[in-house]
Amino acid sequence: MSPRRAKVAVIHAPSSVGVSVHRVEGVDKVTGAARYLDDLVVPGVLHGRTVRSVVPRGRIRRVTLDPAFDWKGVVVADHRDIPGENVVALIANDQPLLAVDEVRHAEEPILLVAHENPERAEAARLAVKVEIEPLEAVLTVEDALARRALVHGDDNVFKEIVIARGDLERGFSDADLVIEGEYRSGHQEQLYIENNAMLAERTRDGGLFVRGSLQCPYYVHRALERMFALPAGKVRVLQTVTGGGFGGKEEYPSMIGGHAALLAWKSGRPVKIVYDRLEDIAATTKRHPAVSRLRAGVMRDGTLTALDFDLVMDGGAYETLTAVVLSRGAIHAAGPYRWPNVRIRARGVATNTPPNGAFRGFGAPQTQFALECHMDRIAAALGMDAVELRHRNAVRIGDVTPTGQVLKESVGARQVLERVAARSKWSAARREIERANAAAEVAERSARTVNGGRRLRRGLGVSLVYHGAGFTGSGEVRLASLAAMDLDRDGHPRVRVANTEIGQGTTTMFAQLAAEALRVPAEFVRIEDPDTGSVPDSGPTVASRTCMVVGGLVAECATAMRERLELFAERPIKGANDFAHVARRYLAARGALRIERRYRRPPGIEWDDASYRGDAYGVFSYASCAIEVEVDLDTCETRVVHVQTAQDIGKAIHPVLAAGQIEGGTLQGLGWALLEELRWKEGRVWNHQLTNYIIPTSADAPPIEVEIVEIPYSHGPHGAKGVGELPMDAPAPAVVAAIAHATGVAVSEIPVTPERLRRALREAGR
């Protein structure tokens, strides 16, 4: 080693941030050493099963245990066994853990059974007979608004939000053109690889220990306190290795965890509940379906003047997270554009379907899908290029969002659009495609054969979206997340946070941020398991907040820890060995060292919940997609040929993981756009298997080219903003635009299945 390099190494350990280090848990997962909940062997465990409603709405008349069945060894629990409140505590505390005398959706849990032998438990479930007197059910948004039956309050509306800015009348009178449209998107299932699964045990001190596949240990913790009337200290919740979440393990683990805990409470035995895929798809949360009606005013030159956006989301049978999903959807409804005059009215309605919940994007994909489709309609009406219309109106620093938020920094809207236009060679590619499509049409007319007799058309579409990172409004202030760091006895630093690794790389990212500040390699840092018995509440792993908010706190803890140790050593610390050495000396001399940092609102951020005005998010991330498709006019099948995307995420702490989020989110968006559709039969999910609820396979995945744009945010660690959800917002509208480019027909509902596209082409006379 040359002296010079040695000297550099002394002052700065090799940097971690911005480098794609090995995943902390990667080897365990690849070798199969990682133990998921169902892999855990617990002596004496019982297997729990859930008896559910098979009708969407009704009064429970009678529950009988088949007298012919051998009930020996079967534990049975219903709502009367709940020691505390019969509620799954969340935001709106309206969902019972077990139905009492009415059911409000199919698959609503009514009773629980458990047995040592899973086969017997299943047999016991089938031996419970539930008689329900059916009541008229509300199954669609339209039925809810028409009050076909009243299922919530006096109007079936859980929540209404109005966001207004400027003068809508004026905006429309300034416009040369007013364009209207209605757009729809349906349910989507998160489809994590590992189904929901929880394991509960009573502890010796009369408390509960609950483990499982989950995103938010403290959500489960608080829900259990309420259900079991236990003080916080008597409940412990631990996240086990989790095979994916996508929002689907944000709130539902409180339900299934509560069920397992209730059976454990009653039996005194450990109880495991592991859903199979059918139960998971049929009973757990989905993305909210949405219907958006838009009216937009625009001037001839493409300047947007007014937007009137009416949004209705289907919340399902209980409010659960609907108010906040609705709020994020509404705040993002105007997209990353300058609208001098806006009115957004959003309603979340009640239906007798299983409650919809958190899913990557949290309402923003639905509204931006509608808005982006509408932007294309505006461009078409003006005869203007889709990129040009967007570029002209895209937000810049100093612009104001519908809630009145002034965008002060890190605004990458135009950059991501420019990058995508450049990389896709937008104008040239569009022209080339149009020429080829026209040539194919001419050839077909003259009965010449091209493309092997297939009537193929290509199309290229674009989209531009943004996504606020962190909780909405004063959410982060209310969460007041706390992160901690301390030292193990051998001198290794240990990060203590409640945020979970669900496949996205959280632990690796935390290790990198801590390592960077400590000036040690990432693998030197240890990350404590998310266990409410040993980590502080650093908030849920949702809302693209984990890196930006919690990562920031971890970096602060690490910096403070290094400073403390250097102060103690009275010299700079040089790398991992030296760190461990100093740390051990510190522990011997002073005892434990624990550093904590709590979230503080960055200066200049204000939000008013009552008026829905102010800084909805600290910062937004931005993304643009250019998607090329090939449509077969005979079968109406759409194949995605290629995706170009550029995403401004502030800073990629781990470029490979960040790109992985973008690729995965893009594919999930393509599935939503083209394939994924729940089919219902009398209020029950009909296609609850992987053979009939279909998502893209690797053979369906197009090449996805990702460019990460880094426009730093001053309050994110190393400039980082959110990346988890953003990629979900962009693909669907670009697909619809590409199909419109290919066929001349703009569909307004996703998924664009061949059946649906065929109908649309027919209606358009093609």
């Binding site: 169902d38 098979v54 899973p118 086969e119 299943e122 479930r125 089938l126 592991v274 199979d276 895929r277 059918l278 054969t449 092997g452 007799g453 297939r454 005979d634 079968t635 394939l675 089919r679 009909w686 296609n687 298997q689 053979t691 009939n692 279909i694 893209p696 396979t697 690797s698 053979a699 369906d700 299945t753 061949p754 059946e755 065929r758």
Partner: protein, 328 residues
């Protein structure tokens, strides 16, 4: 979790042992080759056998023999092996292609020709767990008395979903069927019956022991086309197999088989008169497409729009004719 029911596992060492067991216990036994169809169905409690008779050790049923007179294939040959077999690819490309379009690489490595021929029929009301079938009301095919697809019907119309069978019919293949007392040979065209409950002629105690494609089928212009929602995994929503003998004087004879619509593959009738002496071109494709459209009636047995599937029949027939005719 979806679990397997309890059963006893038998692995006979040779065909005679297998047939001997089945001679006495066929009703309580389920034969399993690759298990890719049988295992999911067991988990759904569509079968609850006392014995599983696994054919895996019957090496005598694992062969591909090319001879002057015919090509014969043992039922245990996997779909991947068929898809890559050089002789099959050369002489019967539509068969290799159909095999290559089944499910996914992993499933093709396990799934066998015999299993594909004897694949259970599929229906949205049937391929469900016991609990769901119970809640929906059991149907004719298992445990019930009514059909939900055709409520007045007296027969199950669950969809025949094998990719390979329509091609075998188009190539005039036959199957050898054996039981403990002997064997018989039936054309694949007569192997299937129009009853979704049990859609083939096998009677309890019988196994498929060989599939034979006559040498005469070697020179056929043949094609296979499959409609599926994704680029992998999915069963056909519609499948079309076509084969024609073409000489200088045009088509002499043709077979067109459309499947995945009803309980058995449908051979489109009246073809010989239609094709005789005509070149294999788009005009002929159009005529065949029209005939197929008129003769096929998709049902709501699978989760895809029946009107759409009907409209796709002529599209896929045209494509098959083009593929067979080598029309670019």
């Amino acid at each position: 979790m979806l679990t397997l029911p309890a059963f006893e596992w038998l692995r006979p060492a040779n065909l005679d042992d297998a047939l001997a067991h089945l001679a006495n216990h066929a009703a309580e036994s389920l034969v399993v080759a690759g298990g890719t169809d049988a295992v999911p169905n067991l988990k759904h409690r569509l079968h609850e056998p006392r014995w599983i008779v696994h054919l895996g050790r019957l090496d005598e049923l694992r062969f591909v023999r090319e001879s002057e007179g015919a090509l014969s294939i043992g039922p245990l040959v996997t779909l991947s092996a068929i898809a890559r077999h050089e002789g099959i690819r050369r002489d019967f490309p539509s068969l290799a292609r159909a095999a290559s379009l089944v499910a996914s690489p992993q499933i093709r490595n396990m799934g066998t020709l015999g299993g594909n021929l004897c694949l259970d029929t599929r229906c949205t009301y049937y391929n469900q767990t016991y609990f769901w079938r119970d809640a929906l009301g059991f149907c004719l095919k298992k445990d019930g008395v009514r059909c939900h697809v055709v409520p007045q019907g007296r027969r199950c119309v669950a969809a025949h979903s094998s990719d390979v069978s329509p091609v075998l019919i188009s190539l005039d293949a036959s199957v050898d069927i054996s039981n403990a007392r002997g064997s018989r040979t039936v054309p694949v065209d007569e192997f299937f019956v129009g009853d979704g409950v049990h859609n083939n002629v096998l009677v309890p105690g019988e196994l498929v022991t060989r599939v034979t494609i006559p040498a005469a089928s070697r020179g056929l212009r043949a094609a296979y086309q499959k409609l599926r929602p994704r680029a992998a995994i999915d069963f056909p929503m519609l499948s079309v197999a076509f084969a024609a003998r073409v000489s200088d004087g045009g088509c002499e004879h043709a077979r067109l088989v459309v499947s995945a619509l009803g309980a058995k593959p449908r051979r489109i009738g009246g073809l010989d008169a239609l094709v005789k002496g005509r070149p294999l071109d788009d005009a002929l494709g159009e005529a065949l497409a029209e005939a197929a459209y008129r003769q096929c009636r998709p049902l709501t047995n699978v989760a895809y729009d029946d009107a759409y599937r009907h409209e796709m029949v002529p599209v896929f027939v045209r494509r098959a004719v083009r593929e067979a005719g080598g029309i670019a």
